[in-house]
């Protein structure tokens, strides 16, 4: 098991706030927008594209290279966009998975919005978008699982 920690840097808060606003806006406007899979479904799609753009920028800035391991890419995202303060990689039943705790882009816990039982978590989509982008064309979708609660855990299967 590998565990990474990142310290919150107020100078990097703008992207976090943008994503928090996006999530809260999706929840509040879901009836007007007629979101067929709810705000979480809309956020899943949008955040995959956000993740791809972030990976593109990390590549452009030469902060990562094509072929970077999933683990290294995720820890880079942790630092660059302040995804979370605490991230753990572990191997469960032969599959590598990442669990993120103390997320820093949650519309509810960080943004303080009352989402009335809904979620609009962008973490899984961002990770998925970034991971699949650096793998190249038409990658397969990794399995993803969000368990919201007092301590949110987002697990997705990634390559070792």
């Amino acid at each position: 098991m590998a565990r990474f920690f990142s310290r919150k840097d107020p100078a990097k808060n703008y992207l976090n706030k943008a994503i928090i606003g996006l999530g809260a806006g999706l929840v509040k406007s879901q009836k007007i927008l007629n979101l067929s899979f709810g705000p979480q479904g809309a956020m899943d799609i949008l955040s995959i594209w956000i993740g791809q753009e972030l990976a593109k920028e990390l590549l452009a800035q030469k902060k990562i290279k094509v072929g970077i391991s999933d683990q290294d890419l995720i820890s880079k995202l942790l630092d660059e966009i302040q995804l979370a303060e605490d991230l753990t990689f572990e191997n469960v039943e032969g599959k590598s998975s990442v669990t993120i705790q103390n997320c820093l882009i949650c519309p509810k816990k960080v943004g303080g919005y009352d989402l009335d039982g809904d979620t609009a978590c962008p973490v899984g989509g961002i990770l998925m978008g970034a991971l699949t982008y650096v793998k190249g064309e038409s990658p397969s979708l990794p399995n993803i699982n969000l368990k919201p609660g007092e301590l949110c855990k987002i697990s997705l299967d990634v390559s070792p």
């Binding site: 995959i48 979708l141 399995n143």
Partner: protein
């Protein structure tokens, strides 16, 4: 032997309410099965094509099968053999 099909054990509204926080692919598969089942794996794959276009990421049969297996285990859908 014909390939298995999948049917919902609850309504799609109940399923989506229960799986509110699930990833959109999981919800899309669950809704397709609960609304239109019995569906084969290939039928479900066809139903996920618009989502594949929306996210720009390939959705393959093993991924779909894994999600189906999860919901069979949770008792939301069942397999007709």
């Amino acid at each position: 032997m014909s390939s298995p099909t999948y049917s919902g054990l609850i309504s799609s509204e109940e399923a989506l309410e229960r799986e509110k926080s699930a990833f959109i692919l999981d919800k899309a598969i669950l809704r397709a099965i609960c609304e239109e089942g019995p569906l084969s794996l290939e039928d479900i794959r066809v139903q996920t094509l618009p989502l594949e276009a929306a996210i720009g990421v390939k959705i393959d049969l093993p991924t779909i099968q894994e999600i189906i297996n999860k919901y069979i285990k949770q008792g939301l859908i069942w397999e007709n053999k």
